[in-house]
């Protein structure tokens, strides 16, 4: 039995670990277009506060992973296509400038193929010249670029006041940077909490020095003659800054899947067994959608990896996802959110000041999500028990 995993992010590596825990003999091959390194992606938006360099975030090297998992790791290999009839993938060693394409190509056969291709940052249509970089942080390589870019610098502008944007703002402001936050939303984390709660977070972060530009978009960025970046907002405001980071969400990486005849909506469509419409092709992590929903978080990927590992090693296991509480690392205000997959409903809020507990009540009258701030975060486990499970 040979299992090939495309992608070495949290989903791919966790799946490999779980397969190995269930089976000593299954052959595992992990292919990544980047250098394979084991790290915990949520740490990218809090590494300054952890006092860690990008290198220090690496928990396991490729060698350690290969040894621990008794797996074959192919770093720097880009999968070109998948032949679902012959059951093989074609990969290309990334160009080093010396070797011909023929010598860089390889064919890897599989019994089962797992797509763990992740997602890519959404690129907003922002006018800019070629020398003005717009960064996004979705993997360790991105983060290395970001850290080099802000070294010895003072000001960072962040587009997007969601999980990543808020955590990054908190990390930067706590470590001596000036931070400007731009988002079209009316309050931070708007999609996962009510206004009264978002307003408290905004207030707490403002006291630390974060400058908010909400209800606005970034229209253009340029670099002036002093090498300072100038960001122009939709209301005409101009902000001078040293670096601009876009954190406006992710779009699943689905090209390989759709070219192989796998059904793709926004993400790769999978059932409760993480199976696509193609025999022996599975998918999990940030690249998939379940019943029309993408869940680009660590926890669903962990659960999917565990269930799929069992299925692939002979014990068919349907994915059961409990509720999804996520701790958002905002130093000014402890925050836990548990986004509802039902979009229709109302918020019910209790508490005072920064200590708030908000329940999202869906149209059937059940709590399908919640958000907690301040001292109320200790209520998390209680609310997890009361909240509707996600599905299956």
């Amino acid at each position: 039995m040979s299992i090939v995993i495309i992608g070495a992010g949290h989903a791919g590596l966790t799946l490999a670990r779980e397969i190995r825990a269930n089976s000593k003999t299954t052959e595992i091959t992990i292919i990544s277009r980047d250098v394979i390194r084991g790290y915990y992606k949520p740490n990218l938006s809090k590494a300054l506060s952890m006092n860690k360099t990008p290198d220090q975030l690496i928990m396991k090297s490729a060698e350690t992973i290969a040894q621990d998992l008794n797996a074959k790791l192919l770093s720097n290999v880009t999968v070109v296509d998948i032949d679902s009839e012959r059951k093989e993938v074609r990969g290309l060693f990334n160009d080093n400038g010396n070797d011909s394409e023929e010598s860089r190509i390889m064919t890897i056969p599989y019994h089962s193929l797992v797509l763990a291709t992740g997602a890519s940052p959404i690129q907003l249509p922002i006018e800019r010249d070629s020398r003005t970089e717009l960064l996004s942080i979705n993997n360790l390589e991105d983060y290395e670029v970001f850290r080099r870019g802000v070294e010895q610098k003072k000001k960072v502008l962040i587009i997007g006041a969601g999980f990543v944007g808020c955590e990054l703002a908190s990390d930067l402001i706590s470590n001596g940077y000036d931070v400007d936050m731009v988002d079209l939303c009316e309050w931070p984390l708007q999609r996962s909490m009510p206004e009264v709660m978002g307003t408290e977070i905004k207030k707490a972060m403002t006291e630390q020095g974060v400058k908010w530009h909400l209800g606005k978009t970034l229209t253009s960025v340029t670099t002036n003659q002093h090498k300072v970046k100038v960001a122009c907002l939709s209301d005409g405001t101009e902000i001078q800054t040293d670096a601009i980071v876009s954190a406006v969400g992710l779009v699943p990486n689905t090209r390989l899947a759709s070219e192989a005849g796998v059904i793709v909506q926004r993400g790769i469509e999978v059932d409760g067994l993480s199976q696509t419409n193609q025999a022996d092709i599975y998918a999990l992590g940030d690249c998939v959608e379940y019943k029309g929903v993408t869940l680009p978080f660590i926890m669903p990927a962990t659960y999917a990896a565990k269930a799929l590992a069992k299925t692939l090693t002979g014990t068919e296991t349907t994915l059961a996802l409990p509720v999804l509480p996520v701790a958002v690392k905002i130093s000014a205000c402890s925050t836990v959110v548990c986004p509802s997959l039902d979009k229709k409903g109302i918020w019910e809020v209790q508490g005072a000041g920064m200590n708030l507990e908000a329940h999202f009540i869906n149209e059937e009258g059940f709590m399908s999500g919640f958000a907690l701030t301040g001292q109320c975060i200790t209520r998390k486990n209680q609310l997890v028990a009361e909240c509707l499970p996600v599905f299956y």
């Binding site: 915990y40 660590i298 926890m299 998390k380 486990n381």
Partner: protein, 55 residues
């Protein structure tokens, strides 16, 4: 009384028996064995069995 430490395989979070985890309802000194099997990592939601002994 000796206390042990356990580390989460996914996110590296450490559970120190000496400190417990008051936010999770475990007072200082709570032994690893006394933590319920269905408890999950407060950082990344890995299961209790995903923690390994470090010290």
């Amino acid at each position: 009384m000796t206390f042990k430490k356990y580390c989460c395989v996914t996110c590296d979070l450490v559970y120190d028996e000496a400190e417990g985890w008051p936010d999770e309802g475990f007072s200082p000194g709570t032994k690893w064995d006394d933590i319920p099997d269905d408890w999950t990592c407060p950082e990344c939601s890995a299961s209790k069995s995903d923690f390994y002994l470090i010290a």
